[in-house]
Symmetry: C2
Subunit: 552 residues, 2 copies
């Protein structure tokens, strides 16, 4: 069984150990969803806040597991193990027994008592401070994170609690990732995972966390945060955290003691579910943004990575993560703000969605035929420049430019962004021979996948949509937690060989198009470096002016 805790809902899947076939699934929406306007029954939140209610996670287990079991029509004793994965970094403050502070009446109306969801963006000042101090002290985590620690990550959020509500900080016995908290709830054991800690929490295998001196430099009261409120013991992926408690066995109908693996991150757990357990294949999880993951046999400092973590994805290998901060979001922006009446009319005439008309028209164009070139920075640049203040560019318009040409240029721009990441990996010897795509976008958009193949010059295979992919990955880790003796597998690689599959459909690069895209990519690189590496900081100046004018 795999349980994937997403942003708006949780998904429980029952998967056949032999071949990974999904027998049944159940999706349970979070009643409180993303809390970004006001606390349930409580005060309004500041802009950029995004919280969650941990009770919603428990509800997914309580409602979703029995429902999935029932739909699967399997016997309770046939469930040999459970794996879970979570969005990250989504930390929460809890008491020593695991009770979230927001469950306690005296803290319920305090925003800092709740889970800070991965997309809580109100800790930018804290992130800036962390980066400043980290760089000054030449802390290793700065390198590991490609030069920048994000406002979305664990310690930015912990520091925000301390800065803004010291009483909550004091009342907190443990700051813990929701990924680890749910495992603690189900097993009764606080066993934290290496993936979330490595990618979001400054933890480095064999070295642990930065020193108390570093934390003191951040804030005098943070000096002992690791020992006092975090802990130093982390467990590799696939390891059994414990067995299901009697309480949760009763609640769910599962057998007490069913093995449960340590927690995982949704994107990372998807990698073996995409069949990737060895170096050479890049997994692209493509949705509103894209997350890129690849494995390496040694540690390399690749520019602009989101993280480089030993055992971070597959035990025994270095897991590299990179990302593009807007992909599907750029197309969604264009669909909402840039599609003219003529396209809508044509769609009504043909009785198809307007995106279908756009895709069809854009697919008829040859590379370079529009003369357009874009920089895909509508939401900044995550890799390789790690700069949220960069903005989008569209160049080459004439009076004859059409909407489908702009749409295609936007797709191409995101493909160039991916190629930039691939070239950064390969320049440091991290091989990227082929691509595996999963997520919502690849299923929906054939043109997009073909352009990615043509731009990167690499074959792309399709896995499954992300939520099923992550849930399958979690189930695979559950099978590993069970072990061969328990009816599962010895390792995640073995599990992947049996349980993970890609679709037959493969997108192959067309040599002629690839050759043209090589030329256009050079132009992309020149603009990328001109606007992104300091030659002309017009984007930052414009954004600063924009902020000023918007306030005035």
């Amino acid at each position: 069984m795999g349980i994937d805790f997403g942003t708006e809902s949780g998904r429980v899947v029952v998967v056949r150990v032999r071949d990974g076939e999904e027998i049944a699934s159940a999706v349970v929406p979070y009643p409180d969803g993303v809390i970004d306007e006001r606390l349930p029954g409580g005060p309004r939140l500041e802009p950029d806040w995004a919280l969650q209610n941990p009770r919603d996670y428990l509800r997914v287990v309580e409602k979703g597991v029995p429902r999935a079991l029932k739909a699967a029509k399997v016997k309770t004793e046939d469930v040999i193990g459970i794996g879970t994965d979570f969005t990250a970094s989504s930390p929460l403050p809890v008491k020593r027994d695991g009770t979230p502070l927001c469950f306690l009446a005296q803290y319920r109306k305090r925003p800092h008592a709740w889970v800070k969801l991965w997309k809580h963006h109100a800790a930018q000042a804290e992130a800036n401070h962390i980066n400043e101090v980290g760089r000054e002290r030449k802390e290793e985590f700065i390198e590991v994170y490609g030069g920048k620690y994000s406002s979305e990550w664990f310690f930015s959020k912990v520091l925000q609690v301390l800065n803004e509500d010291a009483e909550i900080y004091d009342a907190t016995d443990r700051f813990i990732e929701a990924a680890d908290w749910i495992v603690w709830q189900l097993t009764g054991e606080e066993k934290r995972n290496t993936c979330t800690a490595g990618y979001k929490g400054m933890w480095i295998k064999g070295k642990g966390f930065p020193s108390g001196e570093f934390f003191r430099a951040l804030h005098p009261r943070l000096e002992n945060v690791i020992e006092a409120k975090v802990g130093t013991n982390f467990f590799p992926l696939g390891q059994k955290a414990g067995g299901l408690t009697a309480f949760w066995a009763r609640k769910t109908g599962l057998k007490e003691g069913t093995p449960i693996s340590v927690g995982n991150v949704d994107a990372h757990v998807a990698v073996p579910a995409c069949t990737v357990t060895e170096p050479g294949s890049l997994v692209m999880i493509m949705g509103t943004s894209t997350c890129h993951m690849v494995l390496g046999t040694e540690r390399q400092m690749v520019e602009g990575m989101c993280g480089t973590v030993e055992d971070g994805i597959i035990p025994g290998l270095w897991g590299y993560e990179a990302g593009q901060s807007a992909v599907g979001d750029i197309f969604a922006w264009f669909f909402e703000h840039g599609v003219p009446d003529s396209i809508h009319r044509e769609a009504r005439r043909l009785k198809v969605p307007f995106a279908t008309v756009l895709e069809k028209l854009a697919a008829r164009l040859k590379p370079g035929e529009s003369g357009l070139l874009a920089l895909d920075w509508w939401n900044g640049n995550r890799s390789v420049l790690v700069d949220v203040d960069l903005t989008g560019v569209l160049l080459g318009m004439t009076l004859a430019t059409k909407a489908e040409e702009i749409y295609r240029a936007l797709i191409e721009a995101t493909a160039f962004g991916t190629r930039t990441i691939i070239e950064a990996f390969e320049s440091k010897g991290v091989a990227v021979k082929s691509l595996v795509a999963c997520g919502g976008l690849p299923e929906k958009n054939k043109l997009l996948m073909q352009i990615y193949a043509d731009v990167t010059g690499r074959e792309i295979k399709l896995a499954r949509p992300l939520q099923t992919c992550s849930a399958l990955g979690s189930a695979m880790h559950g099978a590993v937690a069970a072990g061969r003796a328990g009816g599962g597998y010895e390792s995640i690689s073995e599990a992947a060989r049996h349980m993970a599959h890609v679709q037959k459909l493969t997108y192959r690069p067309r040599a002629e198009h690839h050759e043209i895209y090589n030329r256009i990519f050079k132009e992309y690189q020149t603009l990328h470096d001109y606007f992104g590496r300091g030659a002309n900081n017009v984007m930052k100046r414009s954004k600063a002016l924009r902020r000023k004018q918007a306030v005035n």
Copy 2:
């Protein structure tokens, strides 16, 4: 009486000499319009061709003059003079008696026998050759035209005739601008004007045309083109070319011998009609493109001018012309290709045109608030870069960018383009203290005019729409041709003092906005120079690739 020969029609106006009041007007469409697909009853044309039928010009006089006279209810003898203006350069080949070759049965099906309209763009190869030879020989006209002779101009078109249909070239006794041809028809005198010759025909006051050596270097058979087929006598604006012939007096109901001034160019004749007869005021004729005209007391070589002609606009002064190759055209492009459904829906709800919604939303924004910046090169750059291969840029997009922000950024970009031209003038001592706008755009778009005032830091007064403006200017020149003795004026300045007026409405720059626009204009200049002056020729390379891919 003024007659303005436009691109699709001609307009005849009857104007009161005392105060310039328009008593009546008549518009006569050209039956053959712009001939750009096939000759009337003849073969198909190549792309980029644009011809006209001179018979349509005669029809404007024949139908339009009686109609305007009737509507004006004035007596024939009260018409003291006639002035005309034309699009330019629009040359045609004629026999010694003025008969257009396309009127003769044996040449009627030969495209080169017809008028080549100003926007005939098929002589680019000839223009390139002229520029190459001109630059090599350091011909003065290269400087006069800001570094480049256009494919739209007189000798590019004459050379194309020779290159592509030598028989027509041989059969041609005179190559003549339509502006001069119509005056020849009405007066029986071939008296050519200094304006068309100076701005389009390499003619320089006191020096005449380039040498026979230059023309021989262009093409051996062109050596004597001036003496044989063009002539060397040119007459200043406002001078009487002759009196109306008995034939045309009968046709129109006007008095035989009515004074007719020499021909003029539509844009240039509008300058005194905008009240501008002295240095210091820039006239902007704003429509699909913008034409800028300003007067100076001496000759200066200003970068990227379309022309610098002594007596070219007002006798006794240097007339400078610059231009932006797309202004209204960029907004029209955006209206057609970039306006999303939400704006259309709002317009339907409010029962107003969607452009009204866009303008209203865009007007609410402050300078710099959108963070967007554009380069206004959707149709290349005429001044100051003189480069048709430059293309548009839009920079600064985020996921929150809205259509009205893009619209405003496009308006601002065209204002920055105008400011670039103003600064080029002022850097050479040609003063631009205030602006006068005429044409269709200024009347329709208050936001645009206010942004131009804020960006340039100068007051803008509004004249009349272009066609009425040009027709009034022509009538003013008719009054000068009549002279004081004939009931008119001694000079165009005197005529302007009485007959030309601007509207009361004045757009004044707002200091706070101007200060912000100064900052954004600096960013515009940096991008302008980066993409326009060779640091990154991506636009040219993309355009070349686009042409290649469109053909393949």
